[in-house]
């Protein structure tokens, strides 16, 4: 990846922050000068129901306003979705999928309906609980999306995210450091899987 036009599809469950992660990714990529799109697919909003969110990141103006059917990257924020949602549908074989799980990529691969592209796994639960004391998978999965897609450099991402969290959590500054730790820990955890 790292090309000039990337399409990302997020699968999560209502309440886990997949939509927020997609909007944050759009936000942080915008700061690098890219053209961005971040949007969720809206339906009945229920905690725990499967939801989808999307990103287009490009170096030219984005005009298409449809959902993404042939993504370069899929991010699965909730492992249990692998049983019920066809998460690799239309996913490019040159692309990749990232799954939030404590299992290894080779354990997850058989669950992906013969998907031949790259498979990455991140244990966002452990990272989040260690860094924040609670389970918020979206920060680790956002970092994983950046690490795998290479839409931007790690250092620039970390710097922009601190500014972003300082703005977002102006009234809850105690969670900023935890979120930053979750981001850096995710990069570290993914390192052995990245080439």
């Amino acid at each position: 990846m790292g090309n000039s036009n990337i399409e990302i599809r997020w699968h999560g469950r209502g309440g886990q922050g997949a939509k927020t992660a997609a909007l944050l990714l759009a936000d942080v990529c915008f700061k690098t000068g890219a053209y961005v799109q971040g949007f969720p697919e809206y339906g009945p909003e229920r905690m725990g129901a499967p939801i989808t969110a999307f990103n287009r990141i490009s170096d030219t103006q984005i005009r298409v306003h449809s959902n993404i059917y042939n993504p370069d990257l899929v991010v699965v924020v909730d492992e249990t979705l692998l049983n019920s949602v066809d998460v690799t549908a239309g996913l490019s074989e040159e692309g990749a999928i990232i799954v939030n799980t404590d299992k290894s990529p080779s354990d997850i691969k058989p669950l992906l309906k013969g998907y031949k592209g790259k498979v990455y796994t991140v244990d966002a639960r452990t990272i989040s609980v260690n860094a924040l004391g609670r389970y918020f998978p979206n920060s680790p999965m956002l970092a994983a999306a950046v690490a795998v897609s290479k839409v931007m450099e790690k250092d620039a991402f970390i710097k922009e995210m601190r500014a972003s969290y300082e703005h977002k959590f102006a009234k809850k500054p105690e969670v900023i450091d935890g979120n930053m730790t979750a981001l850096t820990q995710t990069f570290k955890a993914l390192e052995p899987q990245l080439d």
Binding site: F30, V36, F39, H65, S66
Partner: protein, 397 residues
């Protein structure tokens, strides 16, 4: 100086409202426009604007209060979607017939039923004959730009009509995209101060607003209202030109994208226009001369201008994100076909229905339509009028 930013369509409209700082904004929340009054009330609470915000108990009341405030002489506006607009129906007619230049930020959403929160143009298309000017946006940028232009259009003495500024619910209202924002001072200068010629709170110069009119005079009032709608076209074009020379972007009554030498044109409004442009570009690379006519202004309806823009092509697809339930075609198609006929432009024209209740419209779908146009124009294939695209097949049901 324009400033690069990123925000959703709702954020963009709320930002424009803060910059315009209208006198009065009554509002009642409804998905997907709820964020607009929500963000405006935050701006007010933070002291960033001093609009009188009136939380009301329904959309019937929000439009009534907007009408009342505007009649009193205050620059007034509201926002809504879907059933909210339906509930305003009576007041929409009151606003237009009393020649009140108020503005409505409409975030398009389907109407019941089945009950659904997603985008189509049923709400604004249903209100097409209420006497309002209607302007549609492809993206957050156009939603912002159109909103800024709405007040100078509405308040022009040649017009004095309400303006509905429409954008596609969720597709642009909730999508974060790049945008160019203008300085507060530049926007305020562009919009100007509001000095109504006649208004209720004007001691010494009394006026009647909304009185009964007998048959001897009613018809003239309606005729005058129609004359104002006709005159609004030149004002819309003037304001668009002023906006373009000031901020270096924007369109008049419609955008003509690669239509000049096009064989096949897709005529469409709203967010799906960008998707169609992508399809046209991809087909152009394969040597197929495709173009897009993106209608920006639906009321007043630019009948002659559209016919003129289409007269050189072999076939046109007229795309309605709305059903008319007339067994014949969508509202946009009906009006475009009438325009072609009266201008003696006899080209094949097909009415397509797409994107109802949020059904996705893709680049592939747009390309399929161009393919059908080519089959019609070049191979004489008969295509059923009033064709649905993106519909589930029998197997998929």
């Amino acid at each position: 100086m324009s400033r690069k930013d990123r925000m959703s369509g709702n954020e963009a409209v709320a930002y424009a409202i803060r910059q315009v700082n209208p006198d009065v904004m009554p509002a009642f929340p409804i998905t997907p426009s709820t964020e607009i009054p929500q963000m405006v009330s935050t701006y007010i609470a933070n002291g960033e604007m001093d609009t009188e915000f009136i939380p009301v108990e329904s959309e019937h009341s929000s439009m009534s209060a907007t009408v009342g405030a505007e009649a009193a002489g205050a620059r007034s506006m509201t926002a809504t979607s879907s059933c909210g607009l339906a509930f305003m129906w009576e007041e929409l007619l009151v606003a237009a017939s009393n020649r009140l230049p108020l503005v409505l930020a409409l975030v398009n959403r389907t109407l019941s039923g089945p009950i659904n929160i997603n985008c189509d143009h049923s709400d604004s298309m249903g209100a097409r004959d209420t006497g309002w000017i209607q302007i549609y946006a492809e993206n957050n940028q156009e939603a912002y730009d159109n909103f800024i232009q709405a007040f100078p259009i509405a308040e022009d003495p040649r017009v004095h009509l309400p303006v509905m500024v429409c954008q596609d619910g969720f597709i642009t209202s909730h999508a974060v995209e790049n945008i160019l924002l203008e300085e507060d001072a530049d926007v305020r200068e562009f919009v100007g101060e509001y000095h109504p010629e006649e208004f209720l709170l004007n001691p010494g110069k009394p006026v009647a607003v909304g009185p009964y009119a007998v048959s001897d005079y009613s018809m003239e009032a309606k005729f005058n209202q129609e004359q104002a709608m006709i005159r609004s076209k030149e004002v819309i074009l003037e304001i668009a030109e002023k906006f373009r020379s000031r901020f270096n972007r924007g369109f008049g009554l419609f955008e003509e994208y690669r239509t000049e030498d096009a064989d096949y044109i897709l005529l469409i409004m709203g967010s799906a226009a960008g998707t169609s442009k992508q399809a046209a570009d991809e087909l152009r690379e394969a040597g197929i001369k495709a173009g897009v006519l993106k209608l920006r202004v639906f009321r007043p309806f630019p009948a002659e201008e559209i016919a003129n823009a289409l007269k050189g092509c072999k076939a046109v697809a007229i795309m309605d994100r709305c059903e008319s339930y007339n067994g014949h075609g969508g509202p946009l198609a009906s009006e475009v076909m009438a325009a072609l006929y009266t201008s003696k432009v006899y080209i094949p024209a097909i009415s397509y229905i797409y994107g109802l209740a949020g059904r996705d419209f893709t680049v592939e779908t747009a390309k399929d339509i161009y393919k059908e146009l080519s089959d019609v124009a070049d191979k004489g294939k008969q295509i059923k009028q009033h064709t649905y695209v993106g519909l589930r097949t029998r197997e998929e049901r």
